[in-house]
Symmetry: C2
Subunit: 303 residues, 2 copies
């Protein structure tokens, strides 16, 4: 299967998984479950769950056996859990006390569509749902379930995702933010969840510790590349193309790669990080061709 078809196939599995595994919108309280589905179905790229499914496939070769029965180590539930975590972080990040964003992926953000309290609870519920999914869907493989819980909780915790958010807020008030501080923020805000997505897939595929380490290295570099490109797009693309408010960083006088290094050096940094990710992926079985193509695809993205 070529890259585009494989990506489409992964995304279809993820949409199906979200639809099957997330409580239906009529579940009491309906307002909350409507808001949860609204936020999850706002049409993102599904990057994190795609990473999980693709990382598992390096070892499971599931793509060669599309009709195989659902295994005890099916990566789909934890892939959906990762999308829940990602969506929760966006819903809370968009709140007025954080980034105060009115649009996300071209749609009104959760607190604009509903209200602040509902958005707060929707984020809380999505964070919790991630752990419910892991606890529920690997009942006969508790060692895997516990490893996945640890991967998700560590990546989302106070020393990674939330730590990155906190330092990002502090940096906004501090014009003297350094490259090292910006790297810390991006490693944790973005890199932690991309890495967790790859590690979760690797765990489902019974990757060896050395293979998990390669996935971790790839995730960290992909995360940094992703964030530098985000900064570049915010500085150079209009809101309509981006699907969210563009030019916000400069307006807020926020420290970004572009502000610290300029456009050209930032593009070069992004390329170096992508190359470092590719070098790690290349050492995985068969050179992980889908993930390598995805890394190139991410480097060339325009939204």
């Amino acid at each position: 299967m070529d890259f585009t078809s494989q990506l489409q196939s992964y995304r279809e599995r993820i949409e199906h998984g979200i639809n099957q595994l997330v409580p239906v919108a009529t579940t009491r309280p309906a307002r909350l479950h409507i808001a949860i589905r609204y936020s999850l179905q706002a049409g993102g790229k599904r990057l994190r769950p795609v990473l999980t499914l693709a990382a598992a496939d390096i070892f499971l070769s599931r793509s060669n056996a599309p009709m195989a029965p659902v295994a005890l180590n099916d990566p789909l539930p934890v892939a959906v859990a990762l999308e829940c975590l990602h969506t929760y972080s966006l819903v809370h990040d968009d709140l007025p006390c954080m980034d105060n964003d009115d649009f996300r992926r071209g749609q009104p953000t959760c607190h604009k569509q509903f209200d602040e309290a509902t958005a707060l609870l929707t984020g809380d519920a999505l964070l919790t749902l991630a752990f419910q999914l892991v606890a529920r869907h690997y009942p006969t493989n508790p060692a895997l379930a516990t490893a996945l819980t640890g991967i998700l909780a560590d990546a989302a915790g106070s020393e990674r995702l939330i730590g990155g958010q906190m330092e990002d807020l502090l940096a906004e008030k501090n014009a003297a933010t350094t490259t090292a501080e910006l790297d810390y923020i991006h490693h944790n805000k973005t890199g932690a969840m991309l890495t967790a997505a790859l590690l979760a897939g690797g765990r489902c595929g019974h990757a060896t510790p050395a293979q998990l380490e390669l996935l971790r290295v790839a995730g960290q570099h992909l995360g940094l590349a992703f964030q530098i490109i985000d900064d570049l797009l915010d500085a150079t693309t209009d809101s309509a193309t981006l699907g969210k408010t563009a030019g916000k960083d400069a307006k807020a006088n926020k420290t970004t790669y572009v502000k610290l290094h300029g456009l050209e050096a930032s593009r070069r940094h992004a390329r170096e990080q992508t190359d470092a990710a590719l070098a790690a992926l290349n050492r995985l079985p068969s050179g992980a061709p889908f993930l390598s193509a995805l890394a190139e695809n991410m480097a060339a993205r325009t939204s």
Copy 2:
């Protein structure tokens, strides 16, 4: 050991556990970890973790072997996890978009002491930390870790704790809230976490399914009793005694047991719920004397 000494002993174990298992305040980012510890150490009753330790002791008889080595099924990490979940729910519930409370346990609430964004992230971090604790501290007993993750995530999820919060918000705008709706809110807002605390302890103690069911029934009744007494205290006690703003329910014209049924009938309902909890506890080994005394103690509380 008499009830008061045993309660004190449990609380000391819990304070020690919080101090040992929660990241130190100097962990980067320091502001976040200071806020996490500020919120956890605001001096609550530690009711949920006490329930966990006491429920485990019914089966482990740990109170008879105070010098026993830490077992694979030590209930302390999950007890601390339950306090993290409880504290997260308070920090988010106090935010301006929710109850907008300035004081909690006699101290400024997290968003008053720090700011709204820090309080949002502090709650998110505490919720995540609960699952980190479970994943980290039962590594050699993954079946227990997975069961505990499921108990915590289900209790905190969109159909229990968060569901109750959501319906509570909706009820505030609806003067026609019925007793059945109020029961739903209280069963989920309060009962779910008290039940989870007892079940987590029972799981650590290897309770049988029938014993877990008795703990579940006791938790539901205790939760309802607890909430009715909260309504009574809000209506009849001054802020200084309560350590938080009193009379808020009436001022907000919020539907409470007191508003629906009056003081006398509410006191009778609370007693009936406490008696139903005691009847379930009485069927556990030795009649669960500590938990029974705790139920009576909760029924007589004045803050």
